[in-house]
Every structure is written in C-alpha cells, then in structure tokens.
C-alpha cells in the first residue's frame, strides 16, 4: 500500500530544465503509465521517483512522508531497468537474492523467498544459470523477480519491453498485466513510448511533453477527450487529422481534430464533405488506410477491411457526427456545445 504524491517537482541539469512543475497524485495500487515522445522527461521523472536523480525543487511523498533525500533502497521501491541490469557474473539465484542479502536476512529465509518468487515466475529450472545463458524473456522475468522478492510497495518499470522482439513483447505485456492483477496493492509506475502498452496496461496514463504533464486520465478519457492538440495527436494510431480553415470555422473552433476511424470516405459528393484526391492506400487486411490530399493538407482515413477506393480517385471526406474534437487557438480542447 503506497500512494505517491508529486508537488511542483522540478529537475534541472545546470541550465537545462528537464521537469517543470510536475504535480501528480498516484493512488495506492494504481497502474500508472508515463508516455511521451523521446526526450520528454518521462524516464527522468521515473528516476526521480526512484531516487537515482536528485530533485531540484518541489516535494516527492511516498505514503505521506517526504522522501526527497531518502536513498533509493529506503523508499520501499523496486525498479526494472530497460537493460534489465542483471549482474552478469551472478547466477539467477544470486541476482534475485542480492537485495535480501543487503538487508541482512538469514540464509534460510532468503532461500525460501527466492524459491517462492522463482516458482511464481517459472524460473526454478534456471536458478543456477548465469544471465547470459537465458533468453530475453527469461532475463526480463529475472529482472521482475528481483523486484518482487524485495516486497516493494512501488514497482517502477523503465521501458521494460523495448529490448524484446514483437511477439515476445505482446506475451510479456500480458504477463505484466497478470502480475499487476496478482499484486493489487502494489503501485506500479511504467514508462514507455509505445502507446499500445500504455493503453492496454494503464489504469491512468500521464502524457508528458517537454517536461510538462499534458494530461492525466484513463486510456479511454485520453482517447475520447484529449485535453489538447498534443495529446490528441499522440494517442491513437494512425495519428489524428487536424484541419484548420473553413471546416474548423464552420464548427466554431480554430483546429478541428478528426480521428481516421471517424471519417466517412465517399466516392460521390457529400454535403459539407472535404474533397480530395487519394494519394495512396495501405491495405492491412483487417483494415485499410486511405491517404487523401485535400486543400487542408493530407488527411488519413481508416476503412474496415479492404477498401474499394483506389489511388488517384477523387473522394469526399466527412467526419462522423459526434466524433470531432475542437481546439481553440492555443490548442486547448473546447467542449462540444
């Protein structure tokens, strides 16, 4: 049980301001995902929570106690590194038991705890192996086992899946989701740049850009009601289309955001439709993407299954009503009247 509270947290390296006034309230047992483009400060934020980076100003509280100056090992946290950071010269058993050894536990209870964790993660047959003799997925499990064995209240994950291949990534993602369900009281903070991981794992997503929190919300909130143009563009694939000019003015805003899946593509003229010429199409089987050059720039539309529309064809695009996002001149969301 541990809640984390960040108040006006700032981090700078000399003149470079990395994190700017981050305020965040993470509830106990929540699965929080930090997403953002590379260099947005998401890893720095995680490392600040961990204690590997000193906080320049502001406070970080874990369970109500300010821990700004508390060393990582005393914060009740565990971290899974992107590179796993397994100790290459130690066996799986020694890797998992290292933290317990540092706590000064006696051998018998270390053995008992390690074996319990190994069983939970199906690592029992590999306990005597060195990390180099393990596959990527097994190494990942050892890294997680190292976190579990300490009984930490907070788990921090720093892009843990980025070293795995695509198939293993999906599988490990599900294993992490399962792990979270098995440990409902443990707070987990997860950093990724992959929005699929964010959407599937998170209770709440924190979108960061240039050291600022852009929006905090559940995955569907971010998808359905992005707070600004940045979040709208960042969440969802293919990217949301932004239209300025006449169609936006008709809707009473500066920028109109329409997701590709909310566009109707018609080969015949539509009232209020945006005319354009199909630049090219991508057919993926389950769906197809149609790229249309219009007076308002390139617009992407998604069609189910195989599209009948071909390259060079003249088409009209029309948003499905009720699924448009309106933004003002500063990129802020305008609520639908």
């Amino acid at each position: 049980m541990a809640n984390i509270k960040l108040s006006n947290l700032n981090k700078s390296y000399g003149a470079v301001h990395i994190l700017k006034d981050v305020n965040l309230d993470i509830k106990s047992g929540e699965f929080i995902v930090f997403v953002g483009p590379s260099g947005c400060g998401k890893s720095t934020l995680l490392r600040s929570i961990c204690g590997l980076e000193a906080i320049s100003s502001g406070t970080l509280e874990i369970d109500g106690a300010v821990v700004n100056e508390v060393p990582p090992s005393k914060r009740g946290i565990a971290m899974v590194f992107q590179s796993y950071a397994l100790y290459p010269h130690m066996s799986v058993y020694e890797n998992i038991s290292f933290a317990l050894e540092n706590q000064g536990l006696d051998r018998a209870s270390i053995k008992q705890k390690v074996e319990k964790v190994a069983e939970m993660l199906q690592l029992t047959p590999y306990l005597t192996r060195l990390p180099k003799a393990l596959s990527g997925g097994q190494r990942q499990r050892v890294a997680i086992g190292r976190a579990i064995v300490r009984g930490a209240k907070v788990f921090l994950f720093d892009e843990p899946l980025s070293n795995l291949d695509a198939a293993l990534r999906v599988q490990t993602r599900m294993e992490i989701a399962k792990l979270k369900r098995a440990m409902p009281d443990t707070t987990m903070v997860y950093v990724t740049h992959d929005q699929v991981e964010a959407m599937t794992l998170a209770d709440r997503i924190v979108v960061l850009q240039a050291g600022r929190v852009e929006q905090v919300g559940t995955p569907m909130e971010l998808y359905e009601k992005p707070g600004n143009v940045f979040v709208a563009g960042f969440i969802g694939s293919p990217k949301m289309n932004f239209v300025t000019g006449d169609p936006a003015e008709r809707a009473g805003c500066k920028t109109l955001g329409i997701r590709p899946e909310h566009l109707e593509v018609s080969a015949s003229s539509l009232a209020d439709g945006i005319p354009g010429v199909v630049e090219y199409t991508e057919i993926l089987g389950s769906d197809s993407f149609v790229y249309v050059a219009t007076d308002y720039g390139m617009i992407t539309a998604r069609e189910n299954g195989r599209t009948a529309i071909s390259k060079g064809q003249k088409v009209w695009l029309k948003p499905v009503s009720g699924y448009v996002h309106r933004f003002d001149g500063n990129g802020k969301r305008l609520d639908t009247p």
């Binding site: 961990c50 590997l52 990582p72 005393k74 565990a78 590194f81 010269h89 290292f98 540092n102």
Partner: protein, 380 residues
Amino acid sequence: MWQRIRLEPSRFFLHLAVLLIVAAWTLPTAGLLVSSLRDKDLIATSGWWTALTTTERSEQARMKPPADQVQKDGHSEISGNLFEGTDHAGQISAFGTRVQNPAEFSAGATAQLQDGRSLTVNSDGSYVYTSPTAFTGDRGQRVFFVTSVPPKFTTDNYRTVLFSEGIGRSFINSLTVTIPATIIPILIAAFAAYALAWMKLPARGFIIAVIVGLLVVPLQMSLIPLLKIYNATGFLSKTYLGIWLAHTGFGLPFAIYLLRSYIAGLPKDLIESAQVDGANDFKIFMRIILPLSFPALASFAIFQFLWVWNDLLVAIVFLGSGNDQLVLTGRLNALLGSRGGNWEILTASAFVTIIVPLVVFFSLQRYFVRGLLAGSVKGG
C-alpha cells in the same frame, strides 16, 4: 575464386610485419634456451642452431710411446685407444698423420705410411700401429683425427647458476620485491578507480587530470627526493618495504588511469540497480565492480609485474647489493662483469630471469589483450 586467393598489398605487408616481429622475438629466446642447455665446450665451438646436428671437430692425440711396443709376427706393434686418459667420447670419422690433413684416411682403413709402417684407427678410437722395424724415440707418434660429437644437452649449467652463482637466491629476492609491488598498487588503484568513476566527489575531474598528468612524469625525476626522504626516515632505506612503496608510487598513476577507464565503462544500470537493491558503495565495489573488472585487473597485474621484475634502476637505488637483497637483474649485471666469457653461465642465468615473465604472460595473456582494449570497447 581468384579474388579470394589474391593478397591485397596492405594485408601482405601486415602479415610480413607480424612475421618479422614474431621472428625477432622468438628466435633470440629460442637461441637463449638452446644455448643454456648445451655443454659449455659445445657453446664455445659451435652456434646454438647446430645443437641438434652432429658436429665435427678436429682433434689430436698421441699414441703410446715406443717403450710400449710389442713384437708380433716379426712386426713391431703399438696398440691402444686414442681416447685413453681423456673424458672424450665420440666417433672418429677420419684420421691422418699430418696436421694439414687430419681427414686423410677414413676410420677403419689402414693407412700405408713411409718406411713400410701402417696405421689403422677404428671409429671407437682403438688403433693399431705396425712397423717392420722397431719403433724408436721416447714419445709417441701424433695422430690427427676428426671426431663427430653427437648432440648433447645438459642441465648442469642451471645447477651451477642456481646454486653456486647466487641466481637462486636472487630469484627469491626478485619474487619478494615483485609480488607485493604488484598487489599493493592493484588494491589501492581499484578503490581509487571506483571512487573516481562512480562516486560523487568534489574536484573529481581535477584529481583525474592530476593523475593523468602524473603518467608522463619520468621516474628518474623523483629518485633523489625520494631517496632523501627514505634516508631521513631511516626505516625505509634499503628495505623491502621501501622498494614496495616506491614501485607502488610509480605504478599507481597508470593503474588508476587504466582501471578507472575500464570501471567507468561498466553499464550504469548495474550500479544503479545495486543501489536500488540496497548495496552501499563498499558492497557495490566488492560484489559488482571487482568481479566485473577482473580482465582490467589482470592486465594491469601483468604490466606491473613485468615492469617490476625487469627493473634494475629502482632496485639499485632503493635496495642494497647484499646477497639477501640483490635482485635478478642486478645479479645478471654483476655476472656480466665477472663471468663475461662464460656463455653457459650467462645464458642459463638469463633464461632463469625470463622464465617468470613468460609464465605470467602466457597464463594471463587473454586478459592482457582484453585489458589493452579497456575503455575502447563498450562492455569489454
């Protein structure tokens, strides 16, 4: 196919250069080893590359004097063995009676000499000299002959140098100097390297710069000041402790520099992970850094060991010249003066001196190469 066979000029010269370097190092070493195992007379007469072949040598001997002649079938006869009274053994391949032509007759043949005399010399040295008239005079006739000496190897030279020329004692002295003078700097440098690579210290960059600067300070510059300090303290001058400290001081800048660049190249995640796991700096150093730095430690150990082992200057300056303190290089130097002509002594002594560096190098050479790459290859 043709392209694969063709040697590019740069590769050709590379291979040629490697071959030359290998030859330049191994040939003298092999020569030294072979020479040190040869008989001392053979060293003086033929080169080490002939050690495996039978050598021919011209010799001379006198037959028994006429007083030993016996009468046989109306002839006077003198018989015996040319090797009698010498420790020679060998095969006589040819003989003659004139110094100009010692190989006039082949062994076993009967030579018809003037006045009806005849001489037969067998390859084992036995001879029969007959004459129709009685031999006169009081000295035996001289015989010249060519012996072929089979290859002969001996460890006598080593026995001599180790036990009567003092090389054995010096060998122990050298080890007494070298082993602590290798271990002490490694211990100090490993701690320093970790601190300079991973701990937050004030003026860390400045300290590193000073250490790199010390790398280029010539050792000779500090000999006199150091000696004065040693003499002032008294208990350090001419003692093993004194020379250990001197070698430690001279070796430390390089040790810290080499180890720091290696340790700084270890993945940051590992150290942070250990911090999160609750290890303090000492524990991180002992459990994570030291085991992972073994290649760099071994490589520095080779450098330092070889340098201290081969050192003469520091040993002369900081250690006495008594039997219980003279190191191998010093003893070798002394032998060059006193036994300069005795190649068997010098070659054996020299080889005793290089045995330890060779063993050290070959047993640790895989770390040596890895250590040389320290810092240049990520994750080494």
